[in-house]
């Protein structure tokens, strides 16, 4: 290399090193001067009055989106000066990129999102509009359970989201005709569950299918909910207290993974570890599988409701008992929420939409549309009935059994991400149950 090239190299290296140390990452806390707007939107911005306003609402597809479409259409009829556009994102990408999106220059005005760890981060970062005044003025603090309200509280004590529907699970949906054919009943214990496997296989069904590749962690959550008494469970799921007994070294956790493996081996089809939820559900709706494990949302009209043939007899049961002294429970999630972004200049309109969605009337309509279950607890039996006998029965049974939070929505994202991979790993034999439990334990110990 002649001298000139060497000089080039030197200058370049110096520049690069300078950039390296000059370019530290910056936190996403928005500055005071952050008041962005829909530059490409054609509507004029109105601070109040009857001028045309356009809002953008971001969400995931499926039952959530379909419900929001219904609400948006009804809302726009009542409020002709407000136009709401819905922006759909694929679920996985939305989960990954959502927080970034909400603090960027292209943020929506409203968003549906999960009130989990990521939500807390953006709430703490000041990206969202506080809703405390609305909880009082709209009376939400009376119609939502206290635990639900506390879940959306940020470090500063304010609340920045409102829960719009509840989901629960895991739920095992089954084909009644298949059960009849095989002469089996709904299992009440894990052992019984394994026993009906061979009988279903005999009459030509895959006993159980589930989206192990993408939502396998639901199975783990369900098993864990049935492996610990409520108080112990709370200690387990709280990643901040590192309880000496109720942690992942507990033998019930190892047993839970044992069951994961056993379910895969005895009840599911070959290669089940790699199957995603859509393919699993297809096997069920096409009559090739007798049971399908997912959550309450699968019963909605956007999913099983429209995918099953008319003459299909659909039944369900919750995960059966594992230990004699621990009655089975159902895990519930009240984190599906609507958020309002701060600094758009249209917060009041966005809030208007929130009021609309959370109103008793709309929540009744939600029940009528059979998409998701309303979050307000002041609805009567009559109001809920339109959801259909299956859904209503599921709700009642859930309350009978008692509820706990989903494991994977309670713990920090490192644990839940690891678990997402561990379930298929254990099912396919890459890791032993002991190894899986150990891994969760070491993540817990390393976390802050």
């Amino acid at each position: 290399m002649n001298k000139l090239n060497r000089h080039f190299a030197a200058v370049l290296v110096v520049l690069l090193v300078a950039m390296l140390f000059g370019c530290a990452p910056s936190s996403k806390e928005p500055k005071e001067s952050d008041s962005t707007q829909n530059d490409s939107s054609s509507s004029t911005d109105a601070s109040q009055g009857n001028e045309q306003v356009e809002l953008i609402l971001s969400t995931i597809p499926g039952p959530v989106a379909e419900r929001l479409v219904n609400d948006v259409e009804a809302f726009m009829k009542e409020n002709p000066n407000i136009k709401i556009k819905i922006n759909e994102f694929p679920e996985a990408k939305y989960m990954d990129q959502g927080p970034r999106l909400f603090s960027s220059s292209e943020k929506p005005d409203l968003a549906w999102f999960w009130a989990d760890a990521d939500y807390k981060k953006i709430a703490d970062a000041g990206v969202l509009e506080p809703l405390d005044d609305m909880y009082q003025s709209e009376g939400w603090d009376h119609v939502l359970p206290q635990s639900t309200i506390d879940r959306v509280r940020a470090k500063d004590g304010k609340v920045y989201a409102v829960n719009t529907e509840i989901v629960w699970g895991p739920v095992v949906y089954y084909n009644k005709a298949a059960f009849e054919k095989a002469g089996v009943d709904v299992p009440k214990t894990m052992d019984e569950w394994y026993q009906i496997g061979p009988k279903l296989k005999e009459v030509g069904y895959i006993p159980l299918v589930s989206g192990n590749a993408d939502v396998g962690v639901l199975i783990l959550s369900g098993l864990l909910a049935n492996s610990f008494k409520p108080d112990d469970y709370v200690k387990l799921t709280n990643s901040e207290i590192k309880d000496p007994v109720n942690n992942y070294n507990h033998e019930h956790v190892v047993n839970a993974f044992d069951h994961v493996k056993k379910m895969g081996d005895e009840l599911m089809q070959k290669g089940a570890a790699g199957v995603n939820d859509t393919d699993a559900r297809a096997l069920f709706t096409q009559g090739k599988a007798a049971m399908y494990s997912n959550g309450s949302w699968a019963a909605s009209d956007a999913l099983l409701g429209k995918e099953l043939p008319k003459d299909f007899q659909l039944g369900y049961f919750y995960y059966p008992q594992i230990y004699n002294d621990i009655p089975p429970k159902v895990a519930v999630y009240a984190g599906n929420s609507l958020l309002v972004m701060k600094g758009t200049g249209k917060e009041q309109y966005a809030k208007k939409f929130l009021t609309f969605v959370m109103s008793k009337e709309r929540q009744k309509v939600l029940a009528q549309n059979k998409q998701l279950f309303p979050s307000r607890i002041d609805l009567s039996q009559q109001d809920i009935e339109p959801m259909g006998p299956l859904y209503v029965d599921m709700y009642q049974k859930m309350n009978e059994l008692g509820v706990m939070n989903f494991w994977h929505t309670e713990v920090n994202s490192e644990l839940s991400t690891a678990a997402r991979a561990l379930v298929p790993a254990v099912m396919s034999g890459q890791k032993t149950p002991q190894q899986a439990a150990q891994e969760l334990q070491s993540i817990l110990e390393k976390s802050k």
Partner: protein
């Protein structure tokens, strides 16, 4: 043109620099737009991401400086080594087979074997299909219970071949390799073909006169002539397959578990699922360094950097 060399003895001052800039202004102008784009969209982000690797950052809250912490953690991370191992297997096998098949196809077409036009047309079609489409399509084809591949085996009575192509941790990676080879053999074929077709007919005539048979002709006559292109294609394949992300992500998400995890998917998951940008950036650094080193080694041994007028 030895002008560059001649000036080696002159003192290298700023004036000298400016003079060179002016003298070769046209050349610099030609490369300027490209350099600008590189700087803005590749070099600066790259350096930025390198600097992220020195921090502990979740993307939203304030970052914390950790120096080499991420790299230390990386070396101890069994998932990293697993991904690296899978990546190497993927790279080696994909490169070997795409280049092998591509070369064979190219020779077959060049030598005008019967049906060569069909070959030429067909083999390249998979290349024109996006990786995502290929991934989703094969995902459905390889589905263990109702995919057409397994049901075909069933019809032929080959039940033992009805494997869980993407669900079996021992198979998943190799299945993906197979699909990649399916897709890209036509790509290497095209590049090889361009080079092979340049071999003048006289050489072939001479070989025919001497009675050199097909196989010998291919390996002892054609191969040496196109050696340079072969080296380049192999290097490109190594680089591209090392960076693989899309096809693995769509087909298995790196699973089941982490059976088919490669560095690209590991990087994405770390950055966006576990929210550890600093750590993810360190993976990015390592990947870049590895590929860069491979290319340098390769260049050195194949002398591609020189201006050869052969």
């Amino acid at each position: 043109m030895e002008s560059g060399m001649k000036q080696m003895n002159r003192p290298v001052t700023i004036a000298y620099w400016l003079k060179s800039l002016w003298r070769y202004k046209v050349s610099y102008l030609f490369v300027l737009p490209s350099v600008v784009l590189f700087a803005v969209f590749m070099v600066v982000p790259l350096v930025r991401s390198f600097s992220y690797s020195l921090y502990d950052w979740d993307g939203i809250t304030s970052p914390q400086f950790t120096g080499w912490g991420n790299f230390e953690q990386l070396l101890k991370d069994e998932y990293f080594w697993n991904a690296l191992k899978n990546n190497i297997i993927f790279t080696v096998l994909t490169t070997v087979f795409t280049c092998l098949f591509g070369f064979l196809f190219a020779v077959a077409i060049d030598r005008r074997l019967k049906g060569w036009a069909v070959f030429k047309f067909t083999y390249f079609i998979p290349v024109m299909i996006s990786m995502t489409v290929v991934g989703v399509l094969f995902g459905k084809i390889l589905e263990p219970s109702f995919g057409i591949l397994n049901s075909l085996f069933g019809k032929l009575g080959l039940e033992s071949l009805q494997l869980a192509w993407l669900g079996d941790p021992d198979l998943a990676l190799y299945t993906i390799i197979g699909v990649t080879v399916w897709q890209y053999s036509g790509f290497t074929m095209l590049l090889f073909l361009a080079a092979i077709e340049e071999i003048s007919p006289e050489i072939h005539d001479a070989a025919t006169l001497d009675g050199v048979s097909g196989f010998k002709r291919m390996t002892q006559i054609m191969l040496p002539i196109v050696k340079r292109v072969v080296f380049m294609v192999i290097m490109l394949q190594i680089i591209f397959s090392f960076k693989v992300f899309d096809i693995v992500w769509v087909m298995t998400l790196g699973g089941p578990g982490s059976a088919s995890e490669v560095l690209g998917t590991f990087l994405y998951k770390t950055a966006f699922r576990s929210e550890q940008f600093g750590y993810a950036s360190s993976i990015s650094v390592v990947m870049t360094l590895i590929i860069f080193t491979i290319s340098l080694i390769y260049l050195y041994f194949s002398n591609l950097g020189r201006h050869e007028k052969e």
